[in-house]
Amino acid sequence: MQFNSIEFFIFLSTVLILINCLRKSHYQQAILLGGSYVFYWSTSNYFVILLLFITIISFQSGEVIYHASNQIRKKTALAIALTGLLIPLGFFKYYNFGIEIVNQITIPLHFSLNIPLLDLILPIGISFFTFSAISYVVDIYRGTIQPEKIFYRYALFVSYFPHLLSGPIVRAGQFLPQLKNQISLSPDNLKTGVTLILWGFVKKFVVADNCAPFVNAIFINPTSSTSVEIVIATFLFGIQIYCDFSGYIDIALGAAELIGLHLPQNFFRPYLSKNPTEFWRRWNVTLSSFIRDYIYIPLGGNRKGAIRTYLNLEFSMLLCGLWHGAAWHFVIWGGYHGVLQSFYKFFTKRRGFFPKLLPPLNENFRLFVKILVTQYFIFLGWIMFRVGNLSDMIYCINKYVLFDFNFSSQNSPLWGISTIIGMINGIGLYIKITSVITLVIAVILIIHNDYLMKKIIRILTTDWTQYFASLPIRHWIAYLTIMIFILLCCTPSASPVFIYYQF
């Protein structure tokens, strides 16, 4: 059952109607729980048993950990719980990857194990609900929360359908307290929910899905592409993955808002980050905070000296990359972000380093340069994320970093854009240089204009969903109509599934 299907709307409407009809909170929660399991069954069939297994293991483990009489028993119970929770994830997601590594390692040792790979299907959402369960048991171990006494409430926390398939990764401490009260549908929640859902649909189906053909056209065979094509495809992929993932999250948050059980936001304008560390406080925030709280900090965080800090950071980011998929390019991407963050930490420790690089410049300009430079490296990372083949990846990175100034557009798969490239190619050198200089001057003038910059920053930082959700109904209808109209006109015929379903 996809979010954009008629079945999902019927399902969501049915759940809302039933919740509204039933006044008692435990009936409402039972409906939500049953609905969530039906939702997962429709998506993943018999893997619903796996979901139940994870739920039972983590629930029981929480009890055992909480009631353990001493620290050693607590630790042992935690270790067993984590093992039990990670085994299914490890098996379904990483078994074949691990076997491939073992088979490859044995080749140079002159004996080949040739262990066969299994034909495994990755249960959708396993990474997300497993991490939610892990956070529950670890939080109980740390004493941050108490175990939930009522099993169906805990089961609802793990399986709550808006976040079940692709996040956000919810902590028990954020979600379970909401279940103490009766759910009541409020007009504000309904407006916010519908606003978010439409916003998410437009991001995913209008923006992300229309970028996809261009991105795929280049990255399917990148070695025949020029630098300008690689750069454009990388930029479009950055837009695609942001709109796809954050669009999904918006729909999930919107569905949750309709019901009245809120989920945490996962994206805070990541492409306005001024440094790599800030990027991870804005991108997939629930995952990055999970990595920070449950991997980076237990390893020692930044409390064990500089070298250890960088190692902890690198290891955490490698795991973050690996979480995204059992493939080397995800690990490389994660490791790359670890290096970026380590470099940033290293250079910012030397106070005054950056001011020396950017002498007397307007604050807006410094902000603009920081964002530009950060995003240059972030988008470079997207090449590693997107391109699975190592030699293709090296080619693309080479073309991205060492721009070849080749504007030939013949047979470019980026039709339309190739027309623009061709036009640029046809323009005389003098006009090209003049145009670039004019553009640079215009940008500098805008940046130095405080009034304009304040306006631009205000536009970029406004929470537009909240703004539209708070409009009076007679204006809100215009928002709804325009968004639905845009969806009708601009959704491509064939929509790819959400990118983060595969994680």
Partner: protein
């Protein structure tokens, strides 16, 4: 739930959906549905016109099907004139679609049969019987649009082994799905509206004529030199090392589609003739013997008369490696008339 404050929200959502759909309907109706067919891709416009053409009865007429080989290689007026000289009065129509192949034609068969031609000539080349199974999906959608549901169901069952699931899904689009799918024509419809405010280029005028014309051949403006033809062939065959049109012994989907086409036409008392269309000897030289052998064996197995004109003309009679020029077309059209006369007289 406070009914007095949440119901307005519900009604607002329903109302906005209604307004948005209505606005979308207006856009589709006034921009897409009313737009000249030429705003679509020329091939698609030609197919649409072809389906309209089939709606008229064409008893005793001659249809010539095929790809650009047919569009550029046969002049219907020359064929008609040659037939008249033998006291055979028939209308001849050139119904080629560029890059056509038997599989793409299958979905239009019912329409063709309904117009009741006397004879169908299928102009084939090696490219038509390779393992290529690419189907122009819009043709599927167009040809299924007007059909009743039970007709479509029957056709789907017949075509099941020929088309894949996505193509079957396209054929069974509901009117509502089709209505939503028309959004992909918005940009192609709007851009030409702006463009046609300016004067049309010669190329566009020629394209417009071709889209609706089932008589005049498509005439290339440029004739390649022999050196250019060799260069093209060199790059497409990787220095003459590859056969670009391999044909294997097994009955692939294209062959199945051709069998099916012949069978259906004959079932409806429409006689069928196959012509292996002339190709440039430069191209002919790179076709390996095995492909040639499999091709002719297959045509023999169809049971219909077929004529081999592959190596009929020298390179000077071609505009490029594939298509006849004026000289080639003029001569070949009279040969087509001879074939037709022979078969029509035999049939009587």
């Amino acid at each position: 739930m406070k009914k007095d404050t949440t119901l307005p929200i519900f009604f607002t959502v329903v109302l906005s959906i209604g307004i948005a759909f209505f606005a979308y309907f207006l856009l589709i109706h006034f921009i897409v549905d009313s737009a000249p067919l030429q705003n679509l891709e020329p091939e698609l416009a030609r197919v649409t016109n072809l389906l309209n053409f089939y709606e008229q009865p064409h008893d005793q007429d001659i249809f010539i099907l095929g790809s650009s080989f047919v569009n550029e290689g046969i002049d219907a007026f020359i064929v008609e004139d040659s037939l008249k000289k033998q006291n055979i009065n028939r209308s001849v129509y050139i119904l080629g679609i560029n890059a056509d192949n038997p599989l793409n034609r299958v979905s239009e068969l019912d329409n063709l049969i309904a117009s009741r031609p006397k004879t169908v000539i299928i102009g084939l080349s090696y490219r038509d019987l390779t393992n290529n199974t690419k189907i122009y999906e819009e043709r599927l959608v167009l040809s299924f649009q007007g059909k009743k549901i039970d007709q479509r169901k029957q056709i789907q069952e017949e075509f099941q082994p020929v088309f894949n699931d996505d193509q079957i899904k396209l054929m069974s689009q509901s009117p509502f799905d089709r209505f939503l799918d028309k959004r992909k024509y918005l940009l192609p419809s709007i851009v030409p509206l702006l463009r046609r405010g300016l004067s049309l280029s010669d190329g566009e005028i020629r394209e417009d004529l071709f889209v609706t014309n089932f008589k005049d051949p498509w005439q290339h403006e440029i004739n390649m030199t022999e050196a250019e033809k060799i260069d093209i062939l060199k790059s497409s065959t990787k220095n003459f090392s590859e056969n670009v049109t391999p044909i294997f012994e097994d009955v692939n989907l294209q062959k199945k589609a051709l069998f099916y086409t012949i069978h259906r036409l004959q079932q409806n008392n429409i006689s069928v003739i196959i012509i292996n269309m002339p190709i440039n000897p430069l191209m002919s030289a790179v076709i390996n013997e095995s492909s040639r052998h499999n091709f002719s064996n297959f045509l023999n197995s169809t049971g219909v008369p077929w004529y081999d004109y592959e190596q009929e003309y020298p390179s000077e009679y071609f505009t490029d490696t594939d298509h006849l020029n004026i000289a080639g077309r003029t001569d070949f059209s009279s040969k087509v008339a001879i074939i037709l006369a022979e078969n029509l007289i035999k049939g009587e």
